[in-house]
Subunit: 336 residues, 2 copies
DNA sequence: TTGTATGCGTTATCAC
DNA sequence: GTGATAACGCATACAA
């Protein structure tokens, strides 16, 4: 099987290579005769264009880089992020773009995010999981490569993220409707910007509702896992005579840990302490008691992120500070 | 900022472009003086090589294609597959390879898996989720592009997969130790080769142990989700006077559905019916009752798959029929 | 509407 | 040890 290029085709058909190229790229006008003849021959001979040559010449790679895992290594293992990436991938695919994971190891020497992107000539970048303080992320965002994020909020970055204010408001309103008076909170680590944001909103909404803020029923977990939730809830319960009657928890996973801790103290969910999670991962509906939670619309986040990024790429828009908030939804289940 | 290429470097340093290239690729011998001088200058001027040009010339892309989602669209959303991919990615990264999702849409026209791979000149392919009957998968596996799979078993394909015989044996032995006599099974859809395999092993092991096979306590679920498990268990329970006292279930997710169905019938888990799942997804330990299950070693699967594929790539080994089985582990929890 | 010439940035090959 | 040169496959400006 000979390697077949535009040249082969051109020669065998008695036309010029450029003609073949133009027909393939739908650029320029050609007689239907010629076009069909070339297309038919290409299919017949099994010609496949060479992406490298094309990228080299045209400076466009039709590839989007994805930052998906940092030091934390949660990346692919967190269902929330996987879901967002899946929708994003489907959306950009439809426009002809591929997805490639950004890596900082080429052979045995380290390569920065930005250099990797330059090396691969990616057209844009999606930051699904990243640290806003990582110098390499900063460098990338400040470059002229279009970036969007579905995670971190930063200067010069367009972020597509859940409407976390709405999430907290929905939670607190639901709690009040249930007649709950002592609404506590277990946040995740406050180093995560969106968790800090939610905590601040929590305090603001309490103030608006004239509910006193009591720091004794608020705690920040050490990590993001089940055990962190268990641990945080245990500490919180131990230090309170007058326990909270409802807990807002930073994620569903943490919430499951907290529920176990509550049960371990001999208290009932939701009778003694109700629990509202965040995310609506698939297990929220499967667990018993099933978890009342704030559903993040991962499909919409992925889809909008794709739209924003492709718009930047195709219309040459530079990186800019922006936040697009995607509405969330309160899903009432058995824990409230 | 001028674009800087090997040519620029060569000119400014008074050497030949080929020399620069060779120093960068650690190929050929050079005086330490020259090498250090070139390396220093490259760092100084901020040179980033162009991957396309390199691929074009050298015919090696340092990229591995991943088939991760087919019609089913489960792909990224299934934690088992995500975990395998994560480890695989980490392993190949360390050797300098990137991961790129294989896509069949380039611009507005469809492209087969094989053509995509040729187009991108990928060095190898990992099939994380695929159908063994898909003509495009078959075409790819029969090509000279190295492939491994962590999912499907096929001619001409090296598959790295859990030791499912061991998994079934461990489950049944555990059941017998618990004094269970009527061991039923809820398999997933038997169109999945590994699920069919497990079902066959189940029958074999029963025979070895002289336990009669009763098709009334065996059922195949319609799908892979929680509801499929619920539905299958309900049907199974409804049609039996003498109910099973233990159920082997094809996956943890299905098992959770089955447990709900059992409870809905007013039966207790594990007292009336014990349940053993498969996979050990993270929720297995979080649920109440926590799920006894067969843990698949996703890290090992991903790691071995990387080793096998890189060996094929780097030593020019063609596709071949093979199965590497990774040991599983019985995790005893509250459902038994 | 079609063809010609050139270059994208790198590396393989051969020569010195 | 180091350099000159061609070629990888395609797309573009320009010419016809």
């Amino acid at each position: 099987m000979e390697k077949v290029t535009v040249y082969t085709i051109a020669k065998n058909l008695g036309v010029a290579p450029s003609t073949v190229s133009k027909i393939l790229r739908h650029t320029g006008n050609f007689s239907d005769d010629l076009r069909l003849k070339v297309l038919a021959y290409i299919k017949d001979i099994g010609y496949v264009p060479n992406a490298s040559a094309r990228v080299l010449k045209s400076r466009k790679s039709w590839t989007i880089g994805v930052i998906y895992t940092e030091e934390s290594k949660i990346g692919l293992e967190h269902p929330l992020f996987s879901n967002i990436l899946q929708t994003f991938k489907d959306s950009v695919e439809r426009e002809g773009y591929d997805i490639s994971f950004i890596v900082r190891q080429i052979g045995d020497n380290h390569m920065s995010y930005l250099n990797w992107c330059k090396n691969k000539k990616v057209d844009g970048v999606l930051i699904v999981v990243g640290s806003p303080y990582n110098p390499e992320v900063i460098e990338l965002v400040n470059s002229d490569i279009p970036c969007v994020s579905t995670d971190i909020v930063k200067e010069h970055l367009h972020t597509i993220i859940s409407d976390n204010r709405q999430g907290i408001e929905l939670s607190i309103n639901h709690a009040l409707e249930l007649g709950k008076k002592r609404i506590g909170m277990i946040t995740g680590p406050l180093t995560a910007t969106h968790l800090l944001y939610r905590f601040n909103v929590y305090k603001e909404v309490l103030k608006e509702k004239n509910i006193p803020f009591d720091e004794k029923i608020v705690i920040s977990s050490k990590g993001f896992g089940f055990n962190s939730g268990y641990e945080a809830a245990t500490i919180l319960l131990d230090r309170n005579e007058e326990k909270p009657d409802l807990l807002l928890v930073g994620s569903d996973i943490l919430a499951f840990g907290a529920i176990q801790a509550i049960v371990a103290k001999g208290l009932r969910v939701p009778e003694d302490i109700a629990v509202i999670g965040y995310d609506d991962i698939i297990f929220a509906s499967m667990a018993r008691p099933s978890l009342t939670t704030i559903r993040q619309n991962t499909k919409e986040i992925g889809k909008v992120a794709a739209e924003v990024l492709l718009d930047m790429i195709e219309n040459n828009k530079p990186n800019h500070t922006a936040i697009t908030r995607i509405p969330v939804e309160l899903i009432k289940r058995q824990t409230t």
